[in-house]
Amino acid sequence: MIEFGLIIRALLRHKMAALILALQIALTLTVLVNAVFMIQDRQASMQRDSGVNEQDTFYLTSRVFAPDYDHLSEIPKDLDLLRHTPGITDAVYINSVPLSGYGGYLRLQLQPGKDQDTIIAGHYLSDDHVLNTLELELVAGENFQPEDVLVQDSNSARQPAKIIISQAMAAQLYPDNWQLALGAFVYVNETVPLRITGIVKTLQGAWHFWDQVEATAITPVISVSDSGIYLIRTEAGRRDELMPEVEALLAHSNKNRIIRSVTTLQDTRTESYREHNATNKILMLVIVTLVLVTAFGIVGLATFGINRRTRQIGTRRALGASKGQIMRYFMIENGLITLAGITLGCLGAVALNIYLVQTFAMTPVTPNLLLYGAISVFILGQLAVLYPARKAALISPATATRMV
């Protein structure tokens, strides 16, 4: 390590070039760490389970336009038709679809009366087939019974007696032990009591960006509307074949409505996370080009540094320095600059992260990520300088004499 002093003295003589490279590395690390962090953040929310069988499920909207349409008898007829169609496992009439962006919510409170704390839950209204159709996993209690189901106009505020909630919702109501929620009463509209008769493991609400997306509730109500949703689960693998069939079936069974927006749950998920997905792809591209730009910058700078010092290298070679020593010189030089850049970059990364956390309400970056980022950037620097350093090592001792 005799070169150390030599390198530092040489660096100090050309400090500006070294400083610029260090700054570039610092900024690269700053962007890199935060970009990776943001990708992870989005990836994590995209990977959350909706709780629903997304593969075999699709839905459609039945849009009624005839003025004297008798929903109360037509909906059971539709459901009967769907449930008896070969290939269909089960079907429900429901107010909303997970992650679709359209839905309702319910304010629940543990004590009746005004001015009580309320917790908001994404709200599904459907009948006793809902657990089977969505393939929800019941972790406590039981499903609704057919006699629990209220069939009513969507303006009606009549409430059923029972409610099923997600485990996340139960945990919000009873933070110490979510199982206490089973059998407990919750109140809607300040005073109307509903008994929690079932808890499902996971069920996401309609809005993926909502912090209450995991907190959901289902009530046994068929809430009739002119624009109703039928959600249908098919036997495994038969979804795509049945979609057009079901569309035609419903369209022909009753001509006083339009069957619209036949959509799979998978498409709904894709659409829902489209922006997340796009942002992640862009960030990926930023990372890749950033790494390339920085790497080529290092190569370019190192090459020029070496060209400028051809004579000096030749002299050193003539004085007995081995090829390995010349290579080592440039690798160490680059390593020192990179380390300085990394130190600065860590500060920058944390600063940018603090800014992002404050402005965009994200969670702070982990120290691990910073460490991995630093190691990657160091390796990147060493790899980039490898080729110019090899070229330097190949300079022959004769150059020194020729150039004088």
Binding site: A17, Q24, V64, F65, I258, E275, V286, G300, L301
Partner: protein, 437 residues
């Protein structure tokens, strides 16, 4: 002299073509990334109605639960209750005012062979058309008086007029919704303001405008089904009338005010209105009556979403890396020319002319980088359209202004990056360089 330096720059750039290519590519990538995000943000926050945006305002009142704000950070609800909107519109205290909401309908076939048609609807009052400068092909907006009579009238979009009446002047014709006939009073030209100023939020700011427009009374009288966001805090009971009288907010309310005095007057009127409503036991929260300008409103509704702001910040940091890269490479290049510089100085070139010469060279690299940057920006925008889907279509075009901006950004950034290397190159001691030749 300039052209002579241009020629020298060409020679220099070509001699070190690898290094020059590296610089041009780096600047191109940086400018491309910056311009892609700038374009999206610029078009997202564009003023869709520049000649009168300063006159249009939307109203917020805080009718929320006295114990819980609508949103932490004390943002009042974004819409009004029906009763407040109705009261304000009847008061006619602004130059123009409109209340509106989104709805949906099926236009039923009038003959056996036609098919029903699902349409999106805006239920609004007459001033809507004049306030937002909606262009008409046939007919005109309905009269203000119609807002209070219960006439069933409709304004069609050009697209629906094409479907239903083959594009002919359909004024006086009728369409059927929910079994009732609506008389066509006007057909509007293709009108797609981006962002859709009268109804913006994170999700819907860049949606298309509605297919048909009907008087607001068709929603309140349940002729047409309301289909918009609604937020409630107090319990509501069964009936639609109860819902209309409730504290649920769902009505967009806009006013046109011609001067700051009119705006102040309207603000005072609102404060007075809320004070008066308190007599009925409403508005128990502190006064927060807002008369938002378009810009304030776009910001509050997050029209430019946070992801885009974040990506723009990242893109400029990326541009920063590319510029540092350029500074480093220019420094290496110019210092590498030390012998040449020494020679020229010995032959009598002043520092000023040298400085000029090298800045011309840096400028050339900047222009080339800018042009390449435009290519990258074009590709970037295509990519964004691909990733985000058709919704972004209106937001991915580079107009002339943006192109000029890109080139200027590139050249000025490169000149800035070239300053230090050039300065260093001009201050080399000529004697040293000559000695080493």
């Amino acid at each position: 002299m300039f052209f002579y330096y241009l020629r020298l720059a060409r020679i220099s750039i070509l001699r070190h073509w690898g290094l020059s290519l590296l610089m041009v590519t780096a600047i191109g990538l940086g400018i491309g990334a910056a311009m892609t995000t700038v374009t999206v943000n610029y078009l997202m926050s564009a003023d869709p109605i520049p000649n009168k945006s300063h006159k249009l305002h939307t109203i917020q009142l805080d009718n929320w639960d006295e114990h819980k704000p609508f949103k932490e950070g004390l943002e009042p609800p974004p819409f009004l209750t029906y009763r407040d909107a109705k009261n304000l519109i009847d008061a006619r205290q602004a130059f123009r005012q409109t209340m509106h909401t989104a709805a949906k309908a099926v236009i039923e076939p009038l003959t056996e062979e036609d098919l029903p048609l699902y349409v999106t609807v805006r239920a609004n009052t007459a001033d809507f058309f004049t306030m937002f400068e909606v262009p008409f092909v046939y007919g005109a907006p309905w009269e203000r008086a119609t807002d209070n009579t219960h006439d069933l009238v409709v304004v069609l979009s050009e697209k629906i007029n094409e479907r239903l009446f083959a594009g002919k002047d359909s004024v006086g014709e009728s369409i059927k919704i929910n079994g009732e006939l609506y008389k066509v009073v006007g057909v509007i030209a293709d009108w797609q303001p981006k962002p859709r100023l009268y109804h913006v939020d994170k999700v819907k700011a860049f949606d298309d405008t509605e297919d048909i427009f009907v008087p607001f009374t068709s929603v309140t009288r349940e002729k047409i089904i309301f289909d918009d966001n609604s937020y409630c805090w107090a319990p509501t009971s069964d009936s639609w009338q109860d819902y209309l009288d409730s504290e649920c907010v769902w009505v967009h309310f806009w006013v046109e005010l011609n001067s700051p005095e009119e705006k102040q007057g309207y603000q005072d009127f609102l404060d007075g209105y809320v004070e008066q409503q308190r007599l009925y036991g409403r508005f128990k929260r502190p006064d927060d009556n807002r008369v938002n300008t378009l810009q304030e409103w776009f910001k509050a509704r997050e029209v430019v979403n946070k992801d885009n702001n974040m990506l723009m910040a990242m893109a400029f940091l990326f541009l920063g890396v590319c510029l540092l890269n350029t500074i480093g490479l220019l420094l290496a290049k110019f210092l590498g020319k030390a012998p040449e510089i020494g020679l020229r100085q010995a032959l009598g070139a002043s520092k000023r002319t040298l400085f000029y010469q090298y800045m011309v060279e840096a400028g050339c690299i900047g222009v080339a980088g800018g042009v390449l940057g435009l290519v990258f920006a074009y590709l970037g925008l295509q990519g964004i359209e691909l990733l985000y889907g058709a919704k972004m279509q209106a937001l991915v075009t580079l107009d002339g202004k943006l192109m000029v901006f890109a080139i200027l950004l590139s050249v000025s950034a490169t000149l800035l990056a070239g300053l230090y290397p050039t300065w260093r190159a001009c201050n080399l001691a000529p004697a040293n360089q000559l000695k080493s030749q």
